[in-house]
């Protein structure tokens, strides 16, 4: 016999196999998911969920697709949360402290409660990456927030109304575009191609008969 546990979806009780995730348990219970389900493998943040284990005080946040059900779990999904993304022109802005102040001034109202970090489904130090953003240390903010899936669980818990994942995206774009060194070999190759250096060579390889291509392929040298 399969081991079963009792879980409560939006307060209603269902008995489900103990080895399911919250997401597959909802489907087992008969739900056809439309919202709150995207990649199903922990990458898109669509399945933000809040739960409490019966009899315990603590509220927990998680990704429904990555979390196994437990006995007495009271589950509510958060398929949408009104995080606030500010718009900007990436070519106009500069990686200075000023830009955070302009676009996300509320980060300076952080009271240091650490609720965001506790809520993070990816185990990131969210409060820390917000602190880096405040100080204009974008590269550090980018690193610390890199694994963010944008589920918004942190934002649901923040008394200062901060949209953490949006701050992270901005810091990463600034880092990727302006702070990390430009790639010389990439620039060079793009120019060579634009200049037509490979046009003839590529045409030649395209024209080769299959037998010759097979020979070339099977005997090509492979970089160590």
């Amino acid at each position: 016999m399969q081991k079963m546990v009792n879980v409560y979806f939006y307060g209603k009780k269902y008995s489900v196999p103990a080895d399911l995730t919250i997401m597959t348990a909802m489907e087992y219970a008969g739900y056809t998911l439309k919202r709150g389900c995207g990649c199903r493998h922990g990458f898109c943040g669509a399945c933000a969920t809040i739960y409490r284990i019966k009899g315990k005080n603590e509220l927990k946040t998680c990704l429904a697709c990555q979390t196994q059900v437990e006995e007495g779990m009271y589950v509510a999904s958060i398929p949408f949360f009104p995080t606030d993304k500010r718009t900007y022109d990436i070519n106009e802005i500069k990686p200075t402290e000023q830009i955070m102040m302009e676009l996300y001034p509320e980060i300076y109202s952080c009271i240091g409660c650490n609720a965001c970090t506790k809520a993070c489904t990816q185990g990131l130090n969210v409060m820390q990456y917000i602190a880096y953003a405040q100080r204009g240390e974008f590269e550090k903010c980018a690193e610390e927030s890199f694994d963010c899936v944008g589920c918004g669980c942190c934002s649901t818990r923040c008394p200062a109304g901060i949209s953490h994942p949006m701050v992270g995206v901005l810091a990463r774009r600034l880092t990727g575009k302006y702070i990390a060194k430009e790639t010389e070999h990439l620039k060079k190759r793009v120019e060579e191609i634009k200049h037509g250096d490979y046009d003839q060579l590529v045409e030649q390889i395209m024209q080769k008969p299959i037998a010759e291509m097979q020979e070339l392929y099977n005997t090509r040298d492979i970089e160590e």
Partner: protein
């Protein structure tokens, strides 16, 4: 936590590790690969396929589940729809908010066109978001577009369309540059040099990555840019049928609000299908690495409107899907784990193949090991093969796994498996649709001259197998290109009066071929809800 039989086998893996660290398993010869594929690759299992009975590819085979959808009915038959009541009117309509759709939208917007995206779930709830390993481009000194061409052409069994493959490799460096300039954080060294690795089937290290969140980093940047540009994105809205006009052009799509069930009419001068893959059709009952909305909708819509398919009978099974624990069965274990040096090892601790053969060869070899040779490790849902991850830390130093493949580490740690210390169990998973709608070099379908396709919904770029890192590349190269081409074409397009005549005609053809189906298509979402008493 591993079961007892698994733990016993782990001991054997550990016992042979030191010896294996110093050796490189032999690569298979071309003949060995051929025999292996024919005997063990799912594409060669006749029962998995069915003939397409009507339409441009009549008489050819397709996976049985896809054939069934092509033979099923339009939702709109018998629905009273007023095509003159237009809900959205635009130059360029993009169906699908993944990487291809978002790239197309940005370029069409850049070209000055009115453009909108409709997408089934949210923008970015897509296969693009899940790509871990990386993106190819020949941008280093020892590499060239020709070398990239050769690898991709050979890896795809010499079946890629040369004009498409040429575009892929020649525009690759510019695609990376474009992404980098949008702010994508590629793994770089201090001096700006890209950190690049091998992928299965590459002859040069040209895999660029953003840790193991490569697709996520690309997708969230593209999404951010789409929003910055104020491009309208209509979420939870699926295209269920293309609209044509009386001149045979594409003229928009009928949309379905996934939440209310209401239909809407979108009129457009050019339409781009960017609906991605088909993993959720679970061909031959395989689990899948794909997102929830990967149900081949674009192929069905396009086919019904008269656009032919190409290589619809070839599917990529990724050799390393999760075999255990069951909760994440089928999820992807990125190929980068093997690029970094982890070997494939059987129940006895023997490295039975080179870890970097192409995907189809690797998948077939793992299936053989678990079936004919009986050297798999038994799991609750079947069997699997070890991927010896602790080797990575021994080869490249402690901390490599956390730095380079954090998503993998996190996924397994959720289930108390520490891949730094213990190997992990894998089995092939349904991963990628090699085939799709046929396009010309500039992205247009051959049958309808203002209908474009980009991304995984295209067939022919890769041939009959795709190398890791060439798909993220194709969605950027062909997505951007489709956006530009669609914007330009929209300026010259004069629409006639709109019609769904083709849908009615298709239904008549089905009837004439005596095909009856209870089901409607496109499928939109897989049916996972259990309704048993």
């Amino acid at each position: 936590m591993y079961t007892e039989n698994m733990q016993a086998s782990v001991k054997k893996v550990e016992a042979t590790r030191a010896e294996r660290l110093g050796m490189e398993p032999r690569r298979m010869t071309a003949e060995e690969k051929d025999t292996l594929l024919q005997k063990f690759h799912p594409d060669y299992r006749k029962e998995g396929f069915a003939e397409i009975k009507i339409g441009p590819n009549k008489g050819e085979k397709a996976p049985a589940e896809l054939s069934h959808l092509l033979h099923s009915n339009s939702r709109l038959l018998g629905v009273d729809l007023d095509l003159n009541k237009i809900d959205y009117d635009t130059d360029v309509l993009i169906i699908g908010g993944g990487g291809a759709g978002a790239s197309a939208a940005i370029e069409a917007n850049e070209a000055g066109a009115d453009v909108m995206i409709v997408t089934k779930l949210r923008i970015g709830d897509a296969n693009t978001m899940m790509a871990e390993g990386g993106i190819q481009a020949a941008d280093k000194e020892n590499d060239s577009p020709m070398q990239h061409y050769l690898d991709a052409f050979g890896g795809g069994h010499f079946a890629a369309r040369p004009e498409l493959l040429k575009r892929l490799v020649m525009e690759a460096p510019d695609a990376i540059k474009w992404l980098n300039e949008l702010g994508v954080m590629f793994d770089k060294k201090e001096d700006g040099e890209m950190v690049t690795t091998h992928g299965g089937g590459t002859s040069r290290k040209r895999m660029h990555a953003c840790k193991d969140y490569s697709g996520a980093e690309i997708m969230r940047t593209l999404r951010d840019e789409v929003i910055n540009r104020k491009i309208p994105v209509v979420e939870f809205t699926s295209a269920v049928e293309l609209i044509k006009d009386d001149k045979g052009q594409a003229a928009g799509a009928i949309l379905l609000n996934m939440e209310t069930g209401d239909y809407m009419v979108a009129r457009a001068k050019t339409v781009i299908i960017a609906t991605g893959g088909a993993g959720r059709l679970h061909y031959q009952h395989f689990p899948t690495s794909n997102h929830y909305g990967a149900t081949a909708d674009g192929l069905v819509l396009g086919y019904r409107a008269g656009a032919p398919l190409l290589y619809q009978d070839t599917i990529q099974y990724h050799p390393t899907g999760v075999a255990y624990p069951s909760q994440i069965f089928g999820a992807l274990v990125t190929e980068k784990v093997r690029s970094l040096g982890a070997m494939l090892v059987n129940v006895d601790g023997v490295a039975f193949m080179h870890p970097l053969e192409t995907r189809d060869v690797s998948a077939a070899s793992i299936i053989r090991e678990c079936s004919e040779r009986g050297k798999g490790v038994t799991t609750p849902l079947g069997s699997g093969i070890w991927l010896d991850t602790p080797m990575i830390e021994q080869l490249h130093g402690e901390g490599t796994i956390e730095a380079r493949i954090p998503a993998m580490l996190r996924m397994y740690l959720n289930y108390d498996i520490d891949m730094r210390k213990e190997p992990i169990l894998i089995y092939p998973t349904l991963h990628y649709q090699n085939g799709g709608l046929e396009i010309s070099g500039d992205g247009f379908t051959k049958a309808i001259d203002n209908l474009l396709v980009a991304g995984e919904a295209v067939g022919g770029i890769h041939g009959r197998n795709r190398l890791m890192g060439n798909s993220l590349l194709d969605i950027i190269v062909f997505g951007r290109n489709a956006g530009k081409a669609a914007a330009k074409k929209a300026k010259e397009t004069e629409l006639g009066s709109m019609t769904l005549e083709h849908v009615v005609k298709y239904a008549q053809e089905l009837k004439a071929a005596a095909i009856e189906s209870e089901d409607v298509s496109p499928m939109l979402l897989p049916n996972y809800a259990r309704h048993e008493r």
